[in-house]
């Protein structure tokens, strides 16, 4: 089932009546989620990602725009008729019901021709429980489960009625780091096994990148970029996206383009074609620079952090907007840690220019790089 969002807009009336300021939570969002894909809505808090999710679920009504499931316009359709499954951030498991009762609950709501026999319901419930590997816990109450187990129950409950679309609201935020890794793989697996079109919301870019087929980066209600995670990472369309994706974060420096040359301070770090002369922000991924005695970018060396396979060269630069300039290198490469400065070479495909005025990406062709 593909899901189409057409010019979706949500405006909340201002809480402060005197100020009379409206809050635009989602602004003109248009997007088609292909059938069977796992889509991550990504952005900092307040970016409208949850609102979008709730509009897809039907719990909130869009101010304008349309939502289609397949070819059906479901904009006016209420939640219960949309055939979705929703997993809440804190799971919303009914505390007075056992796991089994929780999972059975959606099935017991079915009526008319959808109505199932008791045995069918039980079979389906166990099937769903097996899928999320909680079939051992069916008679426990939610309060007797760990966070990860509760999460699985919530997913099972959302899946058991075979929804057309599965929606997950910050599914991993209540879990500890190890569980988070494990569960996100689990979500991925389940989604692939069921083939249900799935949308999930997260503020953790790593999480989104690691399991999504497609990610949607949002900021202040406006979609910044949509695409496959790697594509977005490799080709950010603006400074925000570049900064938001990637750990450690991208290094950002101030610079300018003059006469086809890219300057950081007085240093020319690259020569490019197709960019007019202007002040720019320069984004360089940590893996996009490596120490080289003749490197084009000179920074003051702070220290080198060895993290097993990789090492991280931490340095500073006056033009940097980020507190440090970081390079991720293979730990095989040795760096003279006693030196005052370090020079880097830059890999052109990890080197992005953004207009200082619009923060939009400036595309260029490399003429020469150091």
């Amino acid at each position: 089932m593909k899901v189409v969002l057409q010019n979706l807009t949500k405006i909340f009336p201002s809480r402060d009546k005197k100020a009379n300021k409206e809050v635009v939570a989602v602004n003109d969002f248009t997007f088609e989620i292909p059938d069977g894909q796992l889509v991550g809505l990504l952005g900092p808090s307040g970016c409208g990602k949850s609102t979008t999710l709730y509009m897809i679920s039907g719990l909130q009504k869009p101010t304008s725009g349309k939502i289609f499931f397949g070819d059906d316009d479901v904009t006016e359709l209420s939640t219960e008729n949309r055939g979705i499954g929703l997993v809440f951030q804190n799971y919303a498991l009914y505390p007075h019901m056992t796991v089994k009762q929780n999972i059975l609950f959606p099935l017991q709501n079915l009526k008319g021709k959808d109505k199932l026999s008791k045995q069918e319901m039980l079979d389906r419930a166990f099937e769903a429980a097996k899928l999320v590997q909680i079939d051992e816990l069916m008679d426990r109450k939610p309060s007797e489960l760990s966070g990860g187990q509760q999460q699985r129950v919530a997913i099972a409950r959302a899946l058991v009625k075979m929804p057309r679309v599965l929606l997950l609201d910050e599914p991993l935020s209540n879990l500890d780091a190890r569980l988070r890794l494990q569960t996100r793989e689990e979500i991925r697996r389940i989604q692939k096994e069921t083939g249900i079109t799935t949308v999930f919301v997260t503020h953790d870019q790593e999480e989104a990148m690691s399991i999504s087929d497609i990610i949607v980066v949002m900021k202040l209600g406006v979609v910044q970029q949509i695409g496959k995670p790697q594509a977005v990472y490799d080709d950010p369309q603006n400074l925000f996206v570049a900064k938001f994706l990637g750990t450690p974060p991208i290094n950002v420096l101030e610079g300018k383009v003059s006469d086809g040359k890219v300057y950081i301070g007085e240093q020319v770090v690259m020569e490019v074609d197709g960019v007019e002369d202007q002040d720019v922000y320069i984004g360089i991924r940590p893996e996009g620079i490596e120490p080289h005695p003749q490197g084009v970018l000179e920074c003051r060396l702070n220290n080198v952090e060895i993290m097993g396979r990789d090492a991280s060269v931490v340095s500073t630069h006056d033009a940097a907007l980020t507190p440090v300039v970081r390079a991720i290198i293979s730990s095989d490469i040795t760096v003279d840690t006693t030196a005052e400065t370090v020079r880097f070479n830059i890999k052109p495909h990890k080197f992005f220019l953004f207009s200082k005025e619009t923060e939009q990406r400036l595309y260029y062709e490399v003429k020469k790089h150091g």
Binding site: M1, N81, G83, D114, E127, A128, K161, M162
Partner: protein, 295 residues
């Protein structure tokens, strides 16, 4: 997992229209139900008001009138002037405030002991306290009256305040509330060397504030409505409480009440209570809801 999607094959248009109709209908139904119930609930209140505006003769009529033929605002003036409302009000306020404060202290200490401390016979004692709630209190009146008399408390505010300082019900309510505050907080406070009282004051009381406010309001309403006991132990001018003052002021020769004036007086003294509810509704609501629901 079976791949039959049970949610497919639906006539979206039809469902869409249907659900809208259902929504409108159910909203309308809800409002109609609430408004009808509200009217039923309001009726006696309305009656009190119109009764307070009738003449005694009209009030006694066989066929009650729904709107006074002759609107007697004079009843309100009479109620206000005959009954020395000012004095009554101050007495009631004094008793209400003092008994509320003392009662809160006693209730908080007891509830704390029952909720947090371990001691022998705790369950038994608590059970016994709850059992006392089931005995009709009217039986206690004479014994308590004799006690008050022997303590030489007749015609004092003490007699109005002390016998009702302990309410098992409030202790129960507050204990339930305290029990919901995680024990870790108490243990942490102990580790930090915080004294019990400081902990109570800094942690428990702020967390239980809505309940304490509810107790305050119930207690004040109690002072407002108490009648039989004050009449017995302190019905002199210096200590008379508002309900007693109202009841006594408007009787005629045969000991019959002049109801319209009495109703006017009741309406006058109900007003402050009503205002208090309006202002503190939020606290009252959350105070009574703290019975043990987890979010």
């Amino acid at each position: 997992m079976s791949n039959i999607n049970i949610m497919q094959e639906r006539n979206i248009q039809k469902i869409s229209a249907g659900q809208k109709a259902v929504r409108v209908l159910s909203k309308t139904g809800t409002y109609i139900f609430l408004l009808i119930m509200a009217l039923i609930v309001l009726f006696p209140f309305y009656w009190m008001i119109i009764s307070s505006l009738k003449t005694l003769a009209e009030y006694r009529q066989a066929v009650p009138t729904f709107w006074p033929r002759q609107v007697m605002f004079g009843n309100y003036v009479e109620a206000f002037t005959t009954a020395k409302l000012g004095d009554l009000f101050m007495n009631t306020l004094y008793v209400g405030i003092v008994s509320t404060l003392l009662s809160l202290v006693i209730t908080v200490l007891s509830a704390f002991a029952f909720a947090r401390l371990e001691f022998k016979g705790k369950e038994t004692l608590f059970g016994a306290l709850l059992a006392t709630m089931m005995i009709p209190g009217e039986l206690f009146t004479i014994t308590n009256y004799i006690t008050i008399n022997q303590l030489n408390w007749m015609h004092t505010f003490t007699a109005l305040i002390v016998p009702f300082l302990v309410s098992v019900f409030y202790i129960y309510l507050l204990r339930q509330n305290f029990m919901q505050i995680p024990n870790e907080l108490y243990l942490a406070a102990k580790v930090d060397g915080t004294s019990d009282l400081k902990y109570l004051w800094k942690v428990m009381i702020p967390l239980a504030l809505p309940t304490l406010i509810s107790i305050t309001i119930l207690k004040m309403m109690g002072a407002w409505n108490s009648y039989i006991w004050p009449k017995l132990v302190a019905n002199d001018d210096a200590h008379q409480m508002i309900t007693n003052g109202l009841r006594n002021a408007f009787t005629d020769t045969s000991g019959q009440a002049n109801y319209p004036v009495q109703m006017a007086a009741v309406a006058i003294v109900s007003a402050p209570l009503f205002l208090v509810f309006l202002c503190l509704r939020k606290y009252i609501m959350s105070g009574v809801s703290r019975g043990g629901i987890k979010g």
